[in-house]
Amino acid sequence: MKPDSVIIELSPEFSVGAKQALQNTQLRRNMGKATQTIRAKRAAVVGEMHDWEALRDAGERIKADTMAHLDVYIEQLEQNISAAGGQVHWASTAAEANEIVKRLIQATESKHIIKVKSLTTDEIRLNEALEEAGITAIETDLAELIIQLAHEKSSHILVPAIHKNRSEIRELFQKAMNLPDLTDEPKELAAAARTFLREKFMTVKVATSGANFAIAETGSVCVVESEGNGRMCLTLPDVLITVMGIEKILPRWEDLGVFMQLLPRSSTGERMNPYTSIWTGVHPGDGPKEFHIVLLDNGRTQVLGDSVGRQTLHCIRCSACINICPVYERTGGHAYGSVYPGPIGAILTPQLVGTEHAASLPYASSLCGACYDVCPVKINIPEVLVHLRGRVVREKHTHVAGWLDPESIGMAGLAQVFGSRLSYEAAQSMGKLAQWPFVHEGYIENGPGPLGAWTAMRDLQAIPDQTFRQWWRERNVHDDNAQ
């Protein structure tokens, strides 16, 4: 798969993006406050569910079953949506999906669409594709609107404008909506967005959305939201086009009851989100007259075929792993250069676009495991990260140049050194000699050569005068004497 077909708006490597982000103190302050607030809210509402672990198990089991029989469920879904008056389309790539959506919009002759925030349409870059065809997509989610007005990219899957504070938002709105007297009171800002978007909701005849879940058994599609812009887009227009990844399916109606407990508590830290819409095909006299759903593969079947990576498809995009991640908290979302940031982005993006196109992302983690603990469907993110790191290294080695890079040479050397006691001890004595110009009070703060990359972020403890092995040997000698 080509990287341009998906997700990555490749900014440089993660480490480069991270370094830039870390220099922005405003960003770090916004991010720190935001992630702490949302973590505390989540912890409180998760804490009041005494069967939370059983719920997580159920979520994991349902998803594993879905993936194991995805062909059966997806055909069932197709059948039931068609029977209810909806039209089902299939797309194996982003380009195919965009083409389908574009044609459907062109058939209505509308030049505008209203849009519910959807990661999947971000992933396929629908807005850009439509723009080329002369169709303007209006984002209706408050945060997406902020991002769109600022001509920026989202930095969080749930709160895309998490990196913007209220005075920055006020400035944007003042200009875009021509409201010079607007204050930075959140209530007033929200009211301004309400007025601005109401007119669009009442006049634009086509909407696009993503989907949080779709039920194979009934053909129902579910969108979970807060502001009501979702309800507006799902009920007011004549034509509704939903783009959904094939992994969002749930087998049975009651399965949704499990996920409607897991998702709101994990994502916004609420017992329930303000609005959830569930519709089944076309409802005569109520809502859109035409309903289309585009079932999107775009790399997902590749992930499905990997026994370790497959669990990545269980993700319900709650963002709990992102909010808990100590790396994300400091760098923010843009450093990942991917529509999906944080721990989930670090495992999903490389699998969708191929590790060769996102080789630095599996390393954007300290493997602390906090993401695994909070994940409502128990995706073992560290396990997948390590698995992908292995893949990155193996891929490097398929190229001759890969064997010659300093890391590979270093690792090969280390393998030798660790391979025998004699060479290990010899290396320690050599190291002691070699390090002395760099040691300050027992630490190396600015290492030479490749060591510099390590010591740029952390100090390295110097090799002590007496190594553990020497101490152990001498200790044994003393003990022997004592006997």
Partner: protein, 216 residues
């Protein structure tokens, strides 16, 4: 079209057979939160009321006989022109003019001061009201465009947990193919510095009238 469909399906099948393919599982769903029998009927209603209030919605109680008077009292505070679903039971309404939804345009609906509707059920554990386009609930746009929503919930329809609600709602989907809307408080956003602000696009004011009756 069909070729893409077949390609995606073939890719799925190939991917699935590469991994282990366990037998079809039937799942157990007794993951409901609190133990149901621990709550009396009153405690259930109280929990529902308390949790709806936490979303900054107004909650009131009345008996069946006092329903129309209670509605009249609330409406007097919010405005003068109200829309109701075409099949809203007349017996529940006070003596005043209402706009019945007989093919109203979106603009007509957006122009009223508020809407009154019944509901399918309430979920105590989460403070959620579910609308399923049943009697007195109307089409979805009706409870969406007006700025004020007065929603009547019958105490007998309140369940404790989310899974219980899903069990009850199965028939709405399979028998009537009804659209469902879950409402937990008035519309809200946390997009500005994560402060919850009530009232973005849906009704900015939600009021819930709990009627001491099994149902309508």
């Amino acid at each position: 079209m069909t070729t893409t469909r077949n390609r995606v399906l073939a890719d799925i099948r190939k991917a699935i057979t590469q991994g282990q393919r366990p037998d079809h599982q039937t799942h157990s769903f007794d993951v409901g939160g609190i133990v149901p029998q621990a709550l009396s009927a009153e405690a259930l209603v109280d929990m529902f009321a308390e949790r709806v209030t936490e979303y900054k919605a107004w909650v009131g109680f009345c008996r069946m006989a006092g329903l129309s008077a209670a509605i009249a009292a609330r409406l007097a505070l919010a405005g003068s022109r109200y829309v109701i679903p075409a099949d809203f039971p007349a017996a529940y309404l006070p003596q005043q003019e209402f706009v019945r939804d007989e093919q109203l345009s979106h603009d007509d609906i957006a122009a009223v001061d508020g809407v009154i509707s019944l509901s399918a059920l309430g979920i105590a554990q989460t403070g959620t009201i579910v609308l399923d386009a049943g009697v007195g609930q109307g089409r979805r746009v009706l409870t969406l465009l007006p700025d004020y929503h007065l929603c009547v919930v019958f105490a007998g329809t309140i369940v404790l947990t989310v899974p219980e609600a899903f069990t009850r709602l199965r028939a709405s989907i399979t028998e009537r193919r009804a659209p469902l809307t879950f409402v937990s408080g008035p519309s809200a956003t946390s997009d500005i510095e994560l402060n919850r602000v009530e009232g973005v696009h849906g009704p900015r004011r939600l009021e819930v009238l709990i009627v001491d009756a099994p149902g309508h």
